[in-house]
Protein backbone atom coordinates (compact mmCIF):
# COMPACT_ATOMS: atom_id res chain seq x y z
CA UNK A 1 0.00 0.00 0.00
CA UNK A 2 1.55 3.25 -1.02
CA UNK A 3 0.39 6.80 -1.31
CA UNK A 4 3.11 7.52 -3.79
CA UNK A 5 1.72 9.56 -6.62
CA UNK A 6 4.69 10.33 -8.83
CA UNK A 7 4.37 13.20 -11.27
CA UNK A 8 3.89 11.97 -14.78
CA UNK A 9 4.67 14.65 -17.28
CA UNK A 10 1.71 14.96 -19.64
CA UNK A 11 2.61 13.92 -23.16
CA UNK A 12 -0.05 14.59 -25.79
CA UNK A 13 -0.39 11.84 -28.36
CA UNK A 14 0.30 14.31 -31.14
CA UNK A 15 3.51 15.61 -29.53
CA UNK A 16 5.36 14.90 -32.78
CA UNK A 17 3.22 17.52 -34.58
CA UNK A 18 3.92 20.24 -32.01
CA UNK A 19 6.83 22.54 -31.45
CA UNK A 20 9.71 21.93 -31.00
CA UNK A 21 9.32 18.35 -32.29
CA UNK A 22 7.63 19.36 -35.55
CA UNK A 23 11.02 20.16 -37.07
CA UNK A 24 12.21 16.65 -36.19
CA UNK A 25 9.10 15.04 -37.71
CA UNK A 26 9.50 17.01 -40.95
CA UNK A 27 13.12 15.91 -41.14
CA UNK A 28 12.19 12.26 -40.67
CA UNK A 29 9.43 12.44 -43.28
CA UNK A 30 11.79 14.09 -45.78
CA UNK A 31 13.63 10.74 -45.58
CA UNK A 32 10.48 9.02 -46.78
CA UNK A 33 10.38 11.10 -49.99
CA UNK A 34 13.70 9.46 -50.89
CA UNK A 35 11.82 6.17 -51.25
CA UNK A 36 9.26 7.89 -53.49
CA UNK A 37 12.10 8.90 -55.81
CA UNK A 38 13.46 5.33 -55.70
CA UNK A 39 9.94 4.10 -56.58
CA UNK A 40 9.99 6.32 -59.70
CA UNK A 41 13.27 4.69 -60.76
CA UNK A 42 11.86 1.24 -59.96
CA UNK A 43 8.83 1.88 -62.18
CA UNK A 44 11.25 2.78 -64.99
CA UNK A 45 13.03 -0.53 -64.49
CA UNK A 46 9.71 -2.40 -64.75
CA UNK A 47 8.89 -0.47 -67.96
CA UNK A 48 12.32 -1.30 -69.38
CA UNK A 49 11.75 -5.00 -68.79
CA UNK A 50 8.31 -4.84 -70.44
CA UNK A 51 9.84 -3.58 -73.69
CA UNK A 52 10.23 -0.51 -75.94
CA UNK A 53 6.51 0.43 -75.96
CA UNK A 54 6.23 0.48 -72.17
CA UNK A 55 9.54 2.33 -71.92
CA UNK A 56 8.29 5.11 -74.25
CA UNK A 57 5.15 5.53 -72.12
CA UNK A 58 7.29 5.83 -68.98
CA UNK A 59 9.62 8.27 -70.75
CA UNK A 60 6.63 10.34 -71.85
CA UNK A 61 5.35 10.48 -68.28
CA UNK A 62 8.81 11.52 -67.05
CA UNK A 63 8.67 14.58 -69.35
CA UNK A 64 5.08 15.49 -68.32
CA UNK A 65 4.19 18.51 -66.14
CA UNK A 66 2.97 16.14 -63.37
CA UNK A 67 6.39 14.51 -63.26
CA UNK A 68 8.08 17.93 -63.21
CA UNK A 69 6.00 19.01 -60.21
CA UNK A 70 6.70 15.72 -58.41
CA UNK A 71 10.44 16.01 -59.07
CA UNK A 72 10.44 19.64 -57.91
CA UNK A 73 8.92 18.52 -54.58
CA UNK A 74 11.38 15.62 -54.37
CA UNK A 75 14.26 17.98 -55.10
CA UNK A 76 13.29 20.34 -52.26
CA UNK A 77 12.92 17.38 -49.87
CA UNK A 78 16.27 15.97 -51.00
CA UNK A 79 18.02 19.32 -50.41
CA UNK A 80 16.42 19.39 -46.93
CA UNK A 81 17.63 15.83 -46.33
CA UNK A 82 21.16 16.72 -47.43
CA UNK A 83 21.24 19.77 -45.16
CA UNK A 84 19.87 17.99 -42.08
CA UNK A 85 21.84 14.76 -42.68
CA UNK A 86 25.14 16.54 -42.16
CA UNK A 87 23.70 18.54 -39.24
CA UNK A 88 23.01 15.25 -37.41
CA UNK A 89 26.25 13.54 -38.50
CA UNK A 90 28.53 15.12 -35.84
CA UNK A 91 25.94 14.30 -33.16
CA UNK A 92 25.73 10.61 -34.07
CA UNK A 93 29.37 9.85 -34.83
CA UNK A 94 32.08 9.31 -32.19
CA UNK A 95 33.84 12.51 -31.18
CA UNK A 96 36.55 13.26 -33.71
CA UNK A 97 39.82 14.37 -32.14
CA UNK A 98 42.58 15.81 -34.31
CA UNK A 99 45.85 16.93 -32.74
CA UNK A 100 44.49 16.64 -29.18
CA UNK A 101 41.44 18.87 -29.63
CA UNK A 102 37.94 17.88 -30.74
CA UNK A 103 36.87 18.90 -34.24
CA UNK A 104 33.98 21.40 -33.90
CA UNK A 105 30.56 20.04 -34.94
CA UNK A 106 30.02 22.98 -37.28
CA UNK A 107 33.21 22.12 -39.17
CA UNK A 108 32.09 18.49 -39.67
CA UNK A 109 28.72 19.73 -40.97
CA UNK A 110 30.49 22.17 -43.31
CA UNK A 111 32.86 19.50 -44.68
CA UNK A 112 30.05 16.95 -45.17
CA UNK A 113 27.81 19.47 -46.94
CA UNK A 114 30.69 20.59 -49.17
CA UNK A 115 31.54 17.00 -50.13
CA UNK A 116 27.87 16.43 -51.02
CA UNK A 117 27.75 19.56 -53.19
CA UNK A 118 30.92 18.41 -54.98
CA UNK A 119 29.52 14.88 -55.52
CA UNK A 120 26.17 16.03 -56.93
CA UNK A 121 27.82 18.72 -59.10
CA UNK A 122 30.31 16.16 -60.41
CA UNK A 123 27.44 13.81 -61.31
CA UNK A 124 25.58 16.53 -63.24
CA UNK A 125 28.81 17.68 -64.92
CA UNK A 126 29.63 14.11 -65.95
CA UNK A 127 26.20 13.70 -67.56
CA UNK A 128 26.35 17.10 -69.30
CA UNK A 129 29.83 16.69 -70.76
CA UNK A 130 29.79 13.00 -71.52
CA UNK A 131 29.34 12.49 -75.29
CA UNK A 132 26.20 10.36 -75.65
Amino acid sequence: MSDRRPYVRPMPRDWWARRPFRHYTIRELSGVTIAIYAAVLLSGLVALLQGPAAWEIWRGWLASPASLVLHAVLLVAMIWHLRTWFQILPKTMPKLVVGGSPVPQRLITLIGTSVAIVCSTALVAFVLWRPF
Binding site: R13, D14, W15, W16, T25, E28, L29, G31, V32, T33, I34, A35, Y37, A38, V40, L41, L42, G44, L45, V46, L48, L49, P52, W55, E56, R59, L62, A63, S67, L68, L70, H71, L74, L75, M78, I79, H81, L82, W85, F86, G112, V115, A116, C119, S120, T121, A122, L123, V124, V127, L128, F132
Partner: protein
Protein backbone atom coordinates in the same frame (compact mmCIF):
# COMPACT_ATOMS: atom_id res chain seq x y z
CA UNK B 1 21.40 -21.51 -12.88
CA UNK B 2 22.39 -21.90 -16.52
CA UNK B 3 22.74 -18.71 -18.43
CA UNK B 4 20.25 -18.20 -21.23
CA UNK B 5 22.03 -17.24 -24.44
CA UNK B 6 22.03 -13.48 -24.83
CA UNK B 7 19.41 -12.28 -27.27
CA UNK B 8 21.15 -10.19 -29.87
CA UNK B 9 19.48 -7.11 -31.28
CA UNK B 10 18.99 -6.93 -35.04
CA UNK B 11 18.86 -3.13 -34.86
CA UNK B 12 22.50 -2.55 -36.03
CA UNK B 13 21.75 -4.15 -39.42
CA UNK B 14 18.85 -1.77 -40.03
CA UNK B 15 20.91 1.17 -38.79
CA UNK B 16 23.73 0.29 -41.18
CA UNK B 17 21.33 0.16 -44.16
CA UNK B 18 19.67 3.38 -42.96
CA UNK B 19 23.04 5.13 -42.71
CA UNK B 20 24.23 3.83 -46.07
CA UNK B 21 21.05 5.02 -47.79
CA UNK B 22 21.14 8.35 -45.97
CA UNK B 23 24.74 9.01 -46.97
CA UNK B 24 24.32 7.87 -50.58
CA UNK B 25 21.23 10.05 -51.03
CA UNK B 26 22.81 13.04 -49.26
CA UNK B 27 25.88 12.85 -51.52
CA UNK B 28 24.27 12.10 -54.90
CA UNK B 29 20.48 12.51 -54.42
CA UNK B 30 20.27 16.12 -55.61
CA UNK B 31 22.41 15.35 -58.68
CA UNK B 32 20.37 12.22 -59.46
CA UNK B 33 17.04 14.05 -59.30
CA UNK B 34 18.40 16.88 -61.48
CA UNK B 35 19.58 14.35 -64.09
CA UNK B 36 16.68 11.87 -64.16
CA UNK B 37 13.89 14.32 -63.31
CA UNK B 38 14.85 17.42 -65.30
CA UNK B 39 17.90 17.31 -67.60
CA UNK B 40 17.41 13.95 -69.34
CA UNK B 41 13.59 13.94 -69.82
CA UNK B 42 13.51 17.62 -70.88
CA UNK B 43 16.61 17.29 -73.07
CA UNK B 44 18.42 20.13 -71.28
CA UNK B 45 22.12 19.82 -72.10
CA UNK B 46 21.53 16.14 -72.84
CA UNK B 47 20.73 14.66 -76.26
CA UNK B 48 17.10 13.45 -76.47
CA UNK B 49 18.27 9.94 -77.45
CA UNK B 50 20.16 9.68 -74.14
CA UNK B 51 16.99 8.21 -72.62
CA UNK B 52 16.29 5.95 -75.60
CA UNK B 53 15.27 2.34 -74.98
CA UNK B 54 18.58 1.08 -76.40
CA UNK B 55 20.66 3.37 -74.16
CA UNK B 56 18.65 2.56 -71.03
CA UNK B 57 18.90 -1.16 -71.82
CA UNK B 58 22.66 -0.92 -72.41
CA UNK B 59 23.14 0.91 -69.09
CA UNK B 60 21.03 -1.65 -67.24
CA UNK B 61 22.74 -4.63 -68.89
CA UNK B 62 26.15 -3.37 -67.78
CA UNK B 63 27.21 -4.92 -64.45
CA UNK B 64 28.26 -1.52 -63.07
CA UNK B 65 24.94 0.00 -64.16
CA UNK B 66 23.14 -2.86 -62.44
CA UNK B 67 25.12 -2.33 -59.23
CA UNK B 68 24.36 1.42 -59.23
CA UNK B 69 20.63 0.90 -59.86
CA UNK B 70 20.36 -1.83 -57.23
CA UNK B 71 22.26 0.18 -54.60
CA UNK B 72 20.31 3.40 -55.23
CA UNK B 73 16.81 1.86 -55.25
CA UNK B 74 17.24 -0.56 -52.33
CA UNK B 75 19.34 1.65 -50.04
CA UNK B 76 17.00 4.63 -50.58
CA UNK B 77 14.12 2.38 -49.51
CA UNK B 78 16.03 1.10 -46.45
CA UNK B 79 16.75 4.68 -45.43
CA UNK B 80 13.10 5.69 -45.68
CA UNK B 81 12.05 2.48 -43.90
CA UNK B 82 14.02 3.26 -40.74
CA UNK B 83 12.80 6.87 -40.63
CA UNK B 84 9.17 5.92 -41.27
CA UNK B 85 9.35 3.08 -38.72
CA UNK B 86 10.53 5.41 -35.95
CA UNK B 87 8.05 8.14 -36.91
CA UNK B 88 5.10 5.71 -36.92
CA UNK B 89 6.30 4.50 -33.50
CA UNK B 90 6.22 8.12 -32.29
CA UNK B 91 2.73 8.56 -33.73
CA UNK B 92 1.53 5.31 -32.07
CA UNK B 93 0.03 4.01 -35.30
CA UNK B 94 -0.27 0.28 -36.05
CA UNK B 95 1.15 -2.56 -34.00
CA UNK B 96 4.90 -3.05 -33.89
CA UNK B 97 4.65 -6.02 -36.26
CA UNK B 98 2.51 -3.98 -38.62
CA UNK B 99 5.02 -1.14 -38.59
CA UNK B 100 7.90 -3.52 -39.26
CA UNK B 101 6.09 -5.15 -42.19
CA UNK B 102 5.14 -1.78 -43.68
CA UNK B 103 8.68 -0.38 -43.46
CA UNK B 104 11.41 -3.06 -43.29
CA UNK B 105 9.11 -5.52 -45.07
CA UNK B 106 8.56 -3.20 -48.04
CA UNK B 107 12.29 -2.35 -48.20
CA UNK B 108 13.23 -6.05 -48.18
CA UNK B 109 10.64 -6.77 -50.88
CA UNK B 110 11.88 -3.89 -53.05
CA UNK B 111 15.48 -5.08 -52.64
CA UNK B 112 14.53 -8.57 -53.82
CA UNK B 113 12.25 -7.36 -56.66
CA UNK B 114 14.89 -4.94 -57.97
CA UNK B 115 17.51 -7.71 -57.97
CA UNK B 116 15.04 -9.97 -59.80
CA UNK B 117 14.24 -7.31 -62.43
CA UNK B 118 17.94 -6.62 -63.03
CA UNK B 119 18.63 -10.34 -63.47
CA UNK B 120 15.61 -10.71 -65.78
CA UNK B 121 16.88 -7.85 -67.96
CA UNK B 122 20.05 -9.90 -68.41
CA UNK B 123 23.66 -9.04 -69.18
Amino acid sequence: MPHAPEKRSNAPIFWLLFGAGGTLSALFGVGLILVTGFLAPQGIGVAPEALSYENALAFTQNWLGKAVIWAVISLFFWHAAERLYLTLKDMHVFSDTGRRLLTYGVAALVTAVTAGLLLAIGF
